[in-house]
């Protein structure tokens, strides 16, 4: 979920009369529930609403975008047409030096704005919201906005060796080197990691070699500071995925158009063979084209004679045409609607829609919608306008038989048997610590290796979590340690999975069902453990034999492995005093650990 701040007053003023005076919070709440959004909180000022939107609806992340959604739902506006006027006036040349750094940009110009302070705040808020969510903290996509009047065309997007970069960034008084920006500047420090391991950093510079910005970090103070006096803006998005950059750019441009601006395209020249090749530009462009399959975009994407160079005229703000069959609506949501009804509901969800035939609808998806991949997405919008509450729940009439996994039935029988013997079942975690699973048992960490003896975990939030358990009983010992103050005797058991490396499996490991119990009380011996084990095997009618074993965690002469049909299925014995001490325990304890997957298999034979 993405949370956005919306001023209820400004929202109402965008809705216009009569809603501006009559629309109340509960009306909004009801609409949002149908659409799948939610008012999370109303701030103390009584006006700022914290609204949760689903992460697929980027277009609703701005006040204007949100207002578009509500207006359409109220039937106030049918979809607006957006357009980016084509012009060759604005050109950005992309240099091959960016190949391995931040290869792509898509850009736009919006003119004729009359911005108020509050609009500027809104623009920055949306920019940051898009950075934080869709842009993956600027990693996937960074947006820069500049006053058009400061720029001399064409712009060059290139990478420069970092020690050659020097400019005055936004929020600084004087020139700073790239190194200074990344180590001293407030914004620079936050995003410095995005450029680490690079010796050259990306830059937008204009024809007079003024630095516009150093993406994805920050803008320059001279060319990158937008004020209310600026009516014309240049917008760029930089990153690694052409389609994603275009998606974000459309969001910003549509919002600026809603604020009263007029959009113009910017020509971006990818002339370098090296860059095209290494950054998969051809592949990106073909994916981009296929995503816009319904639009004729030949004039937007031109390939030069040299096969690997392209000129892109973006953004494309035209609506995308689709057709939808009413039968498909019935198949998905179980409601019979005619083409007119479908159109009615689609208009509530910002589409332009007309009945083509009795059972076919022609519809246009507005450019800011980034969540329409398939007919099902359109039908889902029909559903939201129709309202989910009107769908009748019915039980499917499909005859099938139910069944449990045999191993789970077996585990349940064993669980009950142990509970009847007075044991308390516990559930410990599957992720654990090497210290507990090996070292505290007297198994040196040098003697075990990842992917052979255990499955390791990469970086984790908790340093004591670094592997998947390979046995249960150390977890039970830890549990007993945390329950030292509870009166004796302690009789606990667990049935759960352990993970063992297995290179024959696609996941290089396998789940194995294990069982372990521990009894802790004064005067316990091997006999107390064996009694239980004998009881269990008698219960399942399995013949077993016992062979003395020597392991670091059990007392020698008081421990054995259990053999069923010639296979070792587990072990039991008195826990060695050293192990008790390493877990902070002082009470004599016995344990047993069994491979239940194996026992279950042997039971079937």
């Amino acid at each position: 979920m993405v949370t956005i701040d919306i001023s209820f007053k400004r929202l109402k003023s965008l809705l216009g009369e009569p809603f501006a005076s009559t629309f109340c919070l509960s009306d909004l709440e009801a609409i949002l529930f149908q659409i799948g959004f939610e008012i999370d909180d109303v701030l103390d000022d009584g006006d700022t609403l914290k609204i949760e939107i689903t992460p697929d609806r980027l277009d609703a992340a701005s006040l204007y975008g949100f207002a578009r959604v509500i207006k359409a739902y109220l039937g106030l506006s049918t979809s607006t047409e957006y357009r980016a006027f084509e012009t060759s006036e604005y050109k950005v040349i992309v240099d091959e030096s960016l190949t391995h750094i931040r290869p792509f940009t898509v850009c736009a110009v919006v003119k004729g704005l009359n911005l108020h302070e509050i609009d500027l705040i809104e623009i920055i808020a949306v920019q940051e919201k898009l950075h934080a969510t869709f842009g993956k903290q600027r990693k996937k996509c960074a947006i820069g906005i500049y006053p058009l009047t400061k720029i001399s065309w064409p712009i060059l997007y290139l990478a420069k060796p970092k020690d050659k970069i020097e400019f005055t960034p936004l929020g600084a008084e004087s020139q700073m080197s790239a190194a200074q920006i990344l180590s001293e500047h407030k914004t620079g420090k936050v995003y410095a990691h995005l450029l680490e391991n690079h010796t050259s950093y990306p830059l937008f510079i204009d024809a007079q070699e003024q630095v516009l910005s150093m993406p994805p970090i920050l803008n320059s103070a001279h060319c990158g500071k937008v004020t209310i006096a600026d009516s014309d803006l240049f917008i760029e998005c930089s990153g690694f995925d052409l389609f994603a950059l275009h998606t974000v750019l459309k969001q910003i441009v549509c919002m600026l158009c809603d604020m009263g601006g007029t959009a113009y395209s910017v020509e971006v020249d990818y002339q370098s063979y090296e860059l095209s090749k290494k950054s998969d530009l051809t592949k990106h462009i073909s994916l981009f084209k296929s995503s816009l399959h319904s639009l004729d975009i030949s004039q937007h994407i031109q390939k030069s004679d040299d096969l690997e160079s392209y000129t892109l005229q973006l953004p494309i703000l035209r609506n995308e045409r689709r057709t939808l069959y009413t039968n498909a609506v019935y198949d998905l949501i179980g409601i019979r609607l005619n083409a007119h009804e479908v159109c009615h509901y689609l208009e509530r969800m910002q589409y332009k829609a007309t009945p083509l035939f009795e059972d076919t609808v022609e519809l246009y998806v507005p450019p800011f919608r980034a969540d329409i991949w398939h007919d099902v997405d359109v039908i889902d919008d029909v559903l939201r306008a129709y309202t989910l509450a009107k769908i009748m729940p019915v039980l499917p009439q499909l005859a099938t038989t139910g069944d449990l996994l045999g191993i789970n039935r077996f585990e349940a029988q064993l669980t009950d048997a142990l509970a009847q013997l007075g044991f308390i079942e516990v559930k410990t975690l599957g992720v654990t610590d090497k210290l507990d699973q090996f070292e505290k048992l007297g198994i040196s960490l040098d003697s075990v290796s990842p992917m052979v003896d255990y499955m390791p975990l990469g970086s984790t939030a908790e340093s004591s979590i670094n592997m998947l358990r390979v046995r249960l009983f150390p977890e039970l010992l830890k549990l007993l340690m945390n329950n030292r103050s509870v009166s004796l005797p302690h009789t606990i058991f667990e049935i759960g999975h352990i993970i063992l490396p297995d290179s024959t499996c696609d996941v290089q490991s396998k789940n194995v069902s294990h069982f372990s119990f521990i009894k802790s009380a004064e005067n316990l011996t091997f006999t107390d453990a064996k009694q239980i084990v004998e009881y269990i095997f008698d219960l399942f009618g399995l013949e077993r034999s016992y062979e003395p074993i020597s392991v670091s965690y059990l007392t020698q002469g008081r421990s054995a492995q259990i053999v069923v049909k010639g296979v070792v299925v587990g072990y039991l014995g008195e826990i060695s005093p050293q192990v008790l001490v390493s877990f902070g325990l002082e009470v004599p304890s016995v344990l047993c650990e069994l491979d239940l997957s194996l026992v279950y298999t042997l039971l079937q034979k």
């Binding site: 991949w373 398939h374 499917p396 449990l404 308390i424 559930k427 990469g458 998947l468």
Partner: protein, 624 residues
Amino acid sequence: MAGRKKVPSSDLAINLQSHPTYQHSLAHNINLEKNNIPLNPEFDSLILALHDYERILLDIFVEFSERKSPLTLDSLNKHIELELDSLLCTRNFDSVMASRAYQWLSNKNIILVSYHKYQVVSLGVNGQTYAKKSLPEIRMITELQNAKRLAQSQLLNLGFNQQEIGVCLGLFKKLGLATVSKSESGEVTLEISLAGKSFSPQTYLQQQFLELSFPLQLDSLTESQKQVLEELKKRQDIVILETKQEPKISLTDFGFKLLQYYAKKLESGALVQYKNSLTKEDIRQYALIAKQTVQQFHQPHLPLQQNVTSSHMQTPSFVLRPFDVTSRVPSVFAGRIHPMTAIMRMIRDIFVEMGFSEMQGPWVETAFWCMDSMWIPQDHPARDVQDTFYLNQIGLLPNAKLVSQIKDVHETGGKSGSKGYSYIWNPQKAAELILRTHTTATTFRTLAKVGNNEGKPLKKFYIGKVFRNEAIDATHLPEFYQVEGFIMGEGLHLGHLLGVIKEFYAKLGFTNIKFKPTYNPYTEPSIEAYYYDERRKKWMELINSGIFRPESLAPYGITQPVIAWGLGLERLAMLMLEQNKLKDIIGTSTDLKWMRTYKVPRRNELKSSLNASQNNHADFEVQN
């Protein structure tokens, strides 16, 4: 020993029996009015049911009642108030026994228990030290009287700590015993004043106070002592003030009458002997009686054994003390299944009732099965390192054909009728090993295996662990149990999804539910299902659900619609167990005390559901 030849059978009573005071009280004739007390069956049965502890108290009361003559209830209660504690002490009657006896006797309206609250003053750690070696201000002024001037460093050398120096500085200023100045080096220095020179430690009230014998009741202090106490309270760990409460016992009118009756019986030796529990010998007595009865029946000519009279034939020579069946008993601890196991069984039952069979899958997964297989894009937030456990190892991708179909469906939509995500899908990213973040990984392993299931319907469910790379605290664990079910079948649509969820909720006992649209990358529509929690008076979300997207199914050749839903088991457990601390239930911090006593979660009785109404109707027809 006239009245009590047989003694109570508990260990305690046997110990007390040998106590001289006890013997004396029983041997002594009690000085009650000699008028005959008529038989009182109510009193008899009350006396018979007395526990050893209660008898001991009554015996003490009898002993008090012998002290003065003529005795009234008031004077008896005066004795109880003044002497009960010390008498109980001499009988090794500890406070737990006493409080149980008080509780039982007051339940029977024999005594009245009220609680007297009072404050007790005792010495803290510092107080105890200063009581022995004097308060620091006394020691310091004595040093000053000798040295006239002392700098802070000298004081430290003399064994005063910083805190003590601070306290003394303040006190000396206030009392004018010394002047404080700073030396040239800036060091705090004390110089004794005239008053200081003539200060006599013997007259220092604070010190006198410390030398009282503690603990003391606050009420017993004089006004001036209380003032001193107030000052000492401000200093660290010198005095401790605690509130205590003490039961105050008095006999009721009813109790007094009973006591008189009891004493009379005691005197006359008419108290019935009783036993707390049967012994083998006792039971043999019954056997003997039974045998003789039978013998007499078959051989009436034989004489009865001498010690068995006909009246004894129905009653052996002992009485089992009747218990107060309403009184509390010590807890027993038995073996128990884990509450999550109980809830999992409940869920398994529900699924099997609805015709579902169980799936299983591994904890360690390739990103492929956990994400890519169901059309979660490779840059989806769910794949972020901070949320997912990565093993930093590579697993194997499935067959090349499936991999290429997955690649197509991500990039261009493949044959699913979708536009696709229009990004370049990276097979290396799909091969990364992770701990599965949701059980849908297992669902898709199953779907890949069964494909379109030859057009036949399929219902599957799974309960398994999922993992989230999260720091552990009271309510957050890095693992959860997830429940997941899906139905594949021709003609399934949203109404069926809602119907199945409604049924599922009804089987859990939740009937007031509502649905809200949401977003999931692999389902469309996606639906959150809330139920109204009557106890918490709010809507709670438990189930997330949807219809699998065509993009999610197309690579496996599945053309039948598939509806699916899932829920977190911990959430349900919190609701059913009324236990908010996950850490107390799951993991090595599990609280065994809680585990010994938790209330077993039960499935709410089916109230109403789509099925129930149909079934009820059917039953009705059968009956006709």
